[in-house]
Symmetry: D2
Amino acid sequence: MPGTPPTRFVYLGPEGTFAEQALRTVPAAERGTRTPARSVGEALDNVRAGEADAALVPLENSIGGAVGVTLDEMAEGDPLVITREVVLPVEFVLGARPGTALHDIRSVAAHPQASTQCRNWLRGHLPDATVVDVLSNGAAAGGAASGEYDAAICAPIGAARHRLAVLANKIADHPDAVTRFALVSRPGPPPPPTGDDLTSLAVYIAHDRVGALLSVLMELAVRGVNLTRIESRPTGEALGRYVFFLDCAGHVADVRLGEALQGLRRVCADVRFLGSYPRHRFGDGSGDRPVPAPAGLSDADYADAAAWLSRIRAGTLP
Amino acid sequence: MPGTPPTRFVYLGPEGTFAEQALRTVPAAERGTRTPARSVGEALDNVRAGEADAALVPLENSIGGAVGVTLDEMAEGDPLVITREVVLPVEFVLGARPGTALHDIRSVAAHPQASTQCRNWLRGHLPDATVVDVLSNGAAAGGAASGEYDAAICAPIGAARHRLAVLANKIADHPDAVTRFALVSRPGPPPPPTGDDLTSLAVYIAHDRVGALLSVLMELAVRGVNLTRIESRPTGEALGRYVFFLDCAGHVADVRLGEALQGLRRVCADVRFLGSYPRHRFGDGSGDRPVPAPAGLSDADYADAAAWLSRIRAGTLP
Amino acid sequence: MPGTPPTRFVYLGPEGTFAEQALRTVPAAERGTRTPARSVGEALDNVRAGEADAALVPLENSIGGAVGVTLDEMAEGDPLVITREVVLPVEFVLGARPGTALHDIRSVAAHPQASTQCRNWLRGHLPDATVVDVLSNGAAAGGAASGEYDAAICAPIGAARHRLAVLANKIADHPDAVTRFALVSRPGPPPPPTGDDLTSLAVYIAHDRVGALLSVLMELAVRGVNLTRIESRPTGEALGRYVFFLDCAGHVADVRLGEALQGLRRVCADVRFLGSYPRHRFGDGSGDRPVPAPAGLSDADYADAAAWLSRIRAGTLP
Amino acid sequence: MPGTPPTRFVYLGPEGTFAEQALRTVPAAERGTRTPARSVGEALDNVRAGEADAALVPLENSIGGAVGVTLDEMAEGDPLVITREVVLPVEFVLGARPGTALHDIRSVAAHPQASTQCRNWLRGHLPDATVVDVLSNGAAAGGAASGEYDAAICAPIGAARHRLAVLANKIADHPDAVTRFALVSRPGPPPPPTGDDLTSLAVYIAHDRVGALLSVLMELAVRGVNLTRIESRPTGEALGRYVFFLDCAGHVADVRLGEALQGLRRVCADVRFLGSYPRHRFGDGSGDRPVPAPAGLSDADYADAAAWLSRIRAGTLP
């Protein structure tokens, strides 16, 4: 029911991964139920079918490679909207059963992309250990807990859940890497604007028209709408048709973003609205800063211009 | 009083010039009073002061060079708006008192720019005649009628009014040259859209901003608004400030032109609306053809996009 | 002969107008011959025919309305190029025979556009005098000198030449108004770049293509080339074809302006080069300031990018 | 050694996946050695270290999610270039040991994203089978061959290599889905232009500048360079800096693409060239068609414009 806060949450499983950790930062999810799903598609289908109120899935992801899947799942089938983003630092730890020392470690379980991200650390600290591929960070932690492997590269939550000792913290090569998750619901009124919001769109254009993408960008630029992300993907359905995933600074309730959206609707083959939601801020207030509306593009400027036009049309200017 | 048809007309004099001829093509002017003015400024001031209802002045002019004056007068002082354009072929004739033969002609009176436009004809047909500069095409006809000169280059109406015989027709070097006049009134509701209208604007930008004009053009292009004319003029008031005179295809009542106008209002230092009015069509239906609205930019497309946005904002899509 | 400094100068007459005054600011003209021409067309034809080396004609002109004529004459016929611009303050004076007092003046001779420019002054100081139209500022001064009229509105040089006393200085309503003249020659190597130059172009585009002008502007903007002036004129030859007169900041020898010019050549129906020449500076150093090349668009940046591309093509990067 | 054809190939393993299948379409690889790597990073590092001549890795990938990894690996560390692309239809098969019938199947091994892609087929044909996640399509085939699972979703090459019977062909929900691979080498002269090539770039811009991406697109559009793909990724190094991966139609040896590249070099924070290579064509000649150069943008048009500019600069026009 629109307006009712979600209570039943689903997330990309298994337990003990970054997705669960991200979901735990959402207050309502702390009070509600949290169920792991086997895949992004399963998580979103649970929401579509009404079996869950919201799904927490990875959007922009340096580990796990789920981005494409999430985007494709959002762009097809029954519409869904993002109501919240969660940005989580990718802080890998090396976990092992209590009592294990670093020099005892012969085997390390890790998701292949997790071990890729910690390559330098592994070379420097465990040059002789065998890295064994497993299916998820959560499975790695579980394998270390069961004694199948000596240690695991996993999320802090995975170590905690499996009662592993943390032998090393923040072992990823890029200390600033983050993963971005989306909380996704069935369509409804977007959360109210906060003054620092993002709007996600899937925009379809015919790719064989020189300048088609330029037209899309001009619709945004003319209204001073900034892009924080753009990704093109070929549509599976037919050659010669591209879909662009755009994250725009602003909220659909903003006048200028609304006008830009209408412009895209008119000039593109199709546009799917994927949600307006507050931009993530870290606890310390850090994070990308919003770019202020360029001169002449605030809601007040829009209201002034609309009033001016009305007077011209009525012949009462000046 | 707004809505009352104009009855008192003023035009750039003297009598017997193309301006009078243009005014005679306006039905209401045929029924009203027609008074010549000494200058464009005087004609427009008569309208501003309420002494006349409308002024017929040259806008885009291959003879007489009055364009700049008209534009400047429209851009400054109390606002005025164009309610109609008249495009007149520049059909110079050689007029002389009845009985005069071409080989008798020793002197030809002409406005300097009229003689410039007929230079080839004069070289070919009257190589030995002296061309005498006079202040207007009307004065040339008058001088030939009074016997001061043997002949005059003038407008057909000038020959008729001074009872001159027309020795040669259409003697201008460019047979397709035209002059464009504007009928100008005090501000009021614009004439209703006809489906083929023009809108004139004076747009002020700071000239020292690279790309400022590009921004103006993008505001128009994004809404599919075509330009039929653009002219920059330095403003007299201060260096570093430019005014652009734009003629746009479309009517201020059109949704897309309205949106473009609001965009200009927001991004430019200033915008003055100079009128929306039907594009001139010649009696045979010839004239510039309107360019149809590009795909996605009709009023229906705008309405569809606005409805779509409303559903998104209300959370009722799909 | 290219490279030979001009010695024979022609200017838009008659004597005693602003054009002569402008020509006197050109050092070579002070040493050479200076002949008045009856019209802009005659002046330019003298240069084309080799009878003169250079012509001084008005380009951008708040009085006299000659702009259109000059532009059209430059755009058609055998090519000519501008080698120098002269910008002259429009400083009208009221001249009268010595001994005349202001309250004696009953008639004032003036070119119609000169009297238009001094309207406020005339209302305030000579409300009862009759203003008589004459053909040029020089003719006005001559008429006052001969006693035909009591006074004349004219250029300072006209008063001096006709030995008139100057009863009032700078009587134009806009004290900052200027007129811009061009010194025009047969094609040859342009004067060397000074670091603050202008380049004039006539650019032809098909007007019925939405966005054609935007394309022109983008060719310039992408290379950071600033426009100081733009004017559209319908071509006399055929409907549906427009010519734009552009003044661009920069010299044809600059890399970025050269690249932009080539871009225009490729995308436009036609481009005519009308000259690169130093921007006018007043004696006190005032005048429009050049806008510095945007980041990345200096000649050094171009050279760096060209070297980088060469290494990529050769496969020697890094 | 530049110019020497590669003989030692590495590919993203394990054996029996689509990457190996893609490599087998490269004639030189059929004659050379083919070694699987554990990760994209390992494959590329082998090339960087000179242990292999070329690596075949996924670029744009609906399965496996390796795109981000490949892009990041190409954008960082020592430069590498793409010399060839291979586009492979994603044709999943259901493989099982010979003698197995469809109704015998209780367990199916599959990479999670492979089972996601075949979800509809599985629902329709094996609604009661348990899908077991494994680490790769090759591992799935191996698991079915060893009897650990009853069947596997895998690539045709995986079924063949493990001597599985193919119970069903083309079971993916999107029959037209493809995966795009790149053959990557150390920098050297790019392969010669074929008339239908692509050029890949990594372009860095500051994300907090409204219009920065528009500037990038304008550099391309002005030279008529079409984009076939664009992807933004946040750089791990610092907030506020974005990298865009662009695939442009054309070859770095083309004049217009070269000019566009120089433009990007000048206006962007950084540009890394990632290779020019022939666009993939399927055996039947199908595939994306190249968009012809817009009017005025062929190499001949560029040569004409360059010659014209030279004549202007020399003063020998016309």
